[in-house]
């Protein structure tokens, strides 16, 4: 799956929790499909000048100003000036938690996981990452598998954090082999237990 633009940063809740407004057909020629911004999708935040950060979609929200606004109108023909186009005011907002960044400085790109130091500016474009980039993000400088954002995501990923993690693990595990893959599967099993039988015991 190649990289694809899906929206731009419009707000942040804290240093690593950003709100991304999804591109619609009025903003771009080919708006992203629903699969492009699915729950647990890896995204990168980049402007023309630089790469800012890597994050993951941990939440989505539909924004509709006309919700509960469908009562009878006084005028039969609403004025276009006072009643803007309802269709263009509907928005899909994506919650993105930042997990680190990609480092391109030497040879093969690799991932630097953890909270990024920089603040991502408003209107920074957000792209869905390719599989190649996701693989690179999960490798450290010495090409060893890393999953160091595990704790960060669990704490910052909202109520669905364990589910996002499990989704990510299912997505990432097949990219690796041998011991590395086995270790990721152990983490996946631990989460599966917490989400299913662990929830029963709690």
């Amino acid at each position: 799956m190649p990289e694809k633009r899906i929206g731009k940063v419009v707000k942040s809740n804290n240093h690593c929790d950003y709100v991304v407004e999804l591109d619609d057909r009025l903003a771009v020629k080919t708006p992203p499909t629903t699969e492009d911004y699915a729950f647990g999708t890896f995204v990168k935040l980049e402007s023309e000048q630089r790469h800012w950060a890597v994050g993951v979609i941990y939440n989505t929200q539909l924004f509709n100003p006309s919700f509960l606004n469908s009562g009878p109108r006084l005028a039969s023909d609403p004025s276009p000036f006072f009643a803007p186009d309802l269709q263009s005011e509907m928005r899909t907002l994506l919650g993105v938690v930042l997990l680190g960044s990609l480092e391109f400085s030497s040879g093969q790109p690799y991932g630097v996981q953890g909270i990024p130091k920089v603040v991502v500016p408003i209107h920074t474009l957000v792209y869905r990452m390719s599989e190649e980039e996701i693989y690179q993000f999960h490798q450290d400088r010495s090409a060893r598998t890393q999953f160091a954002y595990y704790g960060l995501l669990l704490n910052s990923g909202g109520v669905f954090a364990p589910h996002v993690l499990r989704h990510i693990l299912d997505q990432v595990s097949p990219m690796f082999y041998g011991q590395q893959r086995r270790a990721l599967e152990i983490l996946s099993r631990e989460l599966a237990w917490k989400l299913t039988l662990g929830a029963m015991n709690a």
């Binding site: 996981q113 953890g114 598998t145 890393q146 999953f147 160091a148 954002y149 595990y150 704790g151 011991q179 590395q180 086995r182 270790a183 990721l184 152990i186 983490l187 099993r189 631990e190 237990w193």
Partner: protein, 562 residues
């Protein structure tokens, strides 16, 4: 032997104080522990942490405070599920999620404070937990050598039992004076090496530095191998001393009848009616009164006949029955009218006498032991007080030490026995005039608890029986609850030493015996296998073979050849 009564060795003790600063840091104090006498320290390197290991910290007076590790608890650890996959190292998973420290686990170690060492007072408890953040060190070998033992290994009055279990370089040296004067008990399950340990102690007592006078009641004939001490180079002193080992086999055991008391005789006789008992008691008191020195069974019989005779002078029925029963004692090979094992024959400094009683019935063993113990007690007490002349057989001018194997038979917990009373007397009073007892048993639960509590040094070895363990918890408090918990997990030859012979209870590995051990289990499989060896089978066939019949006489030329 002069150390027995005097306090001369206290001066030697004062040399045991130098303490070098400890070196290896094993952790940092977290704070006070579960009890006022404990503290907890934190470590992430568990390799040096062993239950029973000695550690120190520098106390308020800049002196090392010794403590013993009693419990190790895992405080922070990796999630259990990470351990469920046997193929992958849990640390690899931890590293994957960003934790790459070499020691992820944190341990909380509880330490029982032993105290700071004072040469005169022993260990003094600081009664204060160390401050949080204080460094905890592994106690150095030199420090342990200086403070655990009261004596240096080669010093006079020292017995080197073995080495610390966790520090093979630190010898465990016992104070012989305390050991033999305040009595000791070796309590151990079958096959855990109790007679081996007793053998080591006796070897130490007989070394040129100690030269004790020892008697062993040996109901199983296990101690005969101690005879190897005679002529053994390790036992030869600079002045030519060499220990003497006297093995008294059952056929040489002779107890003079007049040294028995009424109840001894009652024990030896079969069941009797009340009338017979009454007649015997009367006759016994008369014969003791009329024969100030010695009397024989015949004298007793005469008194019995005199007591129970009808007016015409004929023998009463009870006297007839008693005569038959008393004849049994006279026929016994172990009781005699004249021959006797006097204290003079049994005891001498630098000599161990082994009284083998393996073929003697239990009742007779009881009476023999009671008679010998009573006489030794009498001899020591009166010689000490100066009431016995040098020429008398009861003259015993030196302290003695008596080892009683299978002590639960001689002093059982809930029943009367001939020995129990005399053992009680010796254990409570023997210390004053140098008569020490060492009790060895495999059933501490069956041993009389009053007697056990009088043994001030204890040697505890592997005991699995829960009743015995429970009994020990109540009667041997000195060892400490933490060490008593170790009892079922000890291996052969590992012993918990506690009591007055050592400064603090320790876990010790008993040293190898210089002489051969005599109490080993039979090589049962070897003997069974031997039965089927070819040459052995041939011998068996020869033994079973029917003799070849004698040939019939032949006749040659009409003449018979026989």
């Amino acid at each position: 032997m002069s150390t027995w009564n005097g306090r001369a060795d206290q001066q030697a003790d004062k040399t045991l104080t130098p303490i070098s600063p400890p070196a290896t840091i094993v952790g940092t104090v977290k704070g006070p522990g579960p009890t006022p006498n404990q503290y907890v320290f934190i470590t992430s390197a568990p390799d040096a942490i062993k239950a029973g290991e000695f550690v120190t910290y520098i106390g308020a007076n800049q002196e090392p405070v010794l403590g013993k590790i009693v419990q190790v608890e895992l405080l922070d650890h990796l999630p259990d599920r990470i351990f469920a996959d046997v193929e992958i190292d849990p640390r690899a998973v931890a590293a994957l999620i960003g934790f790459s420290e070499p020691n992820p686990e944190i341990f909380g170690v509880t330490v029982e404070i032993v105290g700071t060492f004072h040469p005169a007072l022993g260990f003094v408890n600081p009664r204060q937990a160390p401050r949080p953040g204080t460094k905890v060190f592994l106690a150095e070998d030199d420090l342990l050598r200086a403070v655990l033992n009261r004596k240096a290994p080669e010093q006079q009055g020292a017995a080197r039992l073995g080495d610390l279990l966790l520090r093979p370089t630190v010898p465990v040296v016992l104070d012989v004076k305390e050991l033999v004067s305040t009595h000791l008990a070796i309590l151990a399950g079958t096959g855990s090496g109790k007679s081996y340990t007793a053998g080591v102690l006796i070897e130490e007592l007989l070394l040129p530095k100690n030269r004790a006078a020892v008697l062993i009641f040996d109901p199983h004939g296990e101690y005969g191998t101690l005879a190897e001490m005679q002529g053994h180079p390790a036992f030869v002193g600079e002045d030519g001393y060499s220990p003497k080992v006297q093995v008294i086999t059952p056929d040489r055991i002779k107890i003079r009848i007049s040294s028995l008391n009424f109840y001894d005789i009652l024990t030896l006789l079969p069941e009797m009616t009340d009338k017979q008992k009454s007649i015997l008691e009367k006759a016994f008191s008369k014969v003791v009164q009329s024969h100030a020195y010695r009397w024989t069974i015949q004298d007793l019989l005469e008194e019995v006949n005199a007591t129970d005779s009808s007016q015409d002078g004929s023998q009463g029925s009870s006297a007839m029955a008693l005569e038959w029963k008393l004849d049994q004692i006279e026929r016994s090979p172990y009781f005699s009218n004249h021959e006797h094992l006097a204290p003079k024959d049994l005891f001498a400094p630098g000599q161990v006498t082994i009284l083998q009683m393996n073929e003697i019935s239990q009742e007779e063993q009881q009476v023999i032991a009671a008679a010998i113990l009573r006489q030794a007690n009498y001899a020591r007490m009166n010689t000490h007080k100066g009431k016995i002349l040098e020429t008398e057989e009861n003259y015993l001018p030196f302290p003695v030490f008596i080892v009683v194997e299978e002590a639960h038979r001689f002093a059982p917990a809930h029943e009367e026995s001939r020995c129990k009373k005399v053992l009680r007397t010796i254990l409570s009073e023997g210390r004053k005039f140098g008569l020490g007892v060492g009790l060895i048993t495999q059933r501490p639960g069956k041993l009389d608890s009053d007697i056990l509590s009088q043994c001030m040094s204890q040697f505890l070895m592997r005991i699995v029986n829960p009743v015995d363990q429970e009994n020990l918890r109540h009667s041997v408090e000195a060892a400490g609850r933490d060490l008593l918990q170790e009892l079922p997990s000890l291996s052969k030859g590992q012993v918990i030493v506690s009591g007055v012979c050592i400064n603090t209870p320790v876990l010790c590995k008993v040293r190898s015996r210089l002489t051969k051990h005599g109490g080993e289990t039979l090589d049962i499989i070897g003997i069974w296998q031997h039965h089927f060896r070819p040459q052995h089978r041939h011998e068996q066939r020869l033994k079973k073979a029917v003799p070849v019949p004698r040939r019939d006489p032949q006749i040659v030329d009409g003449v018979g050849i026989d």
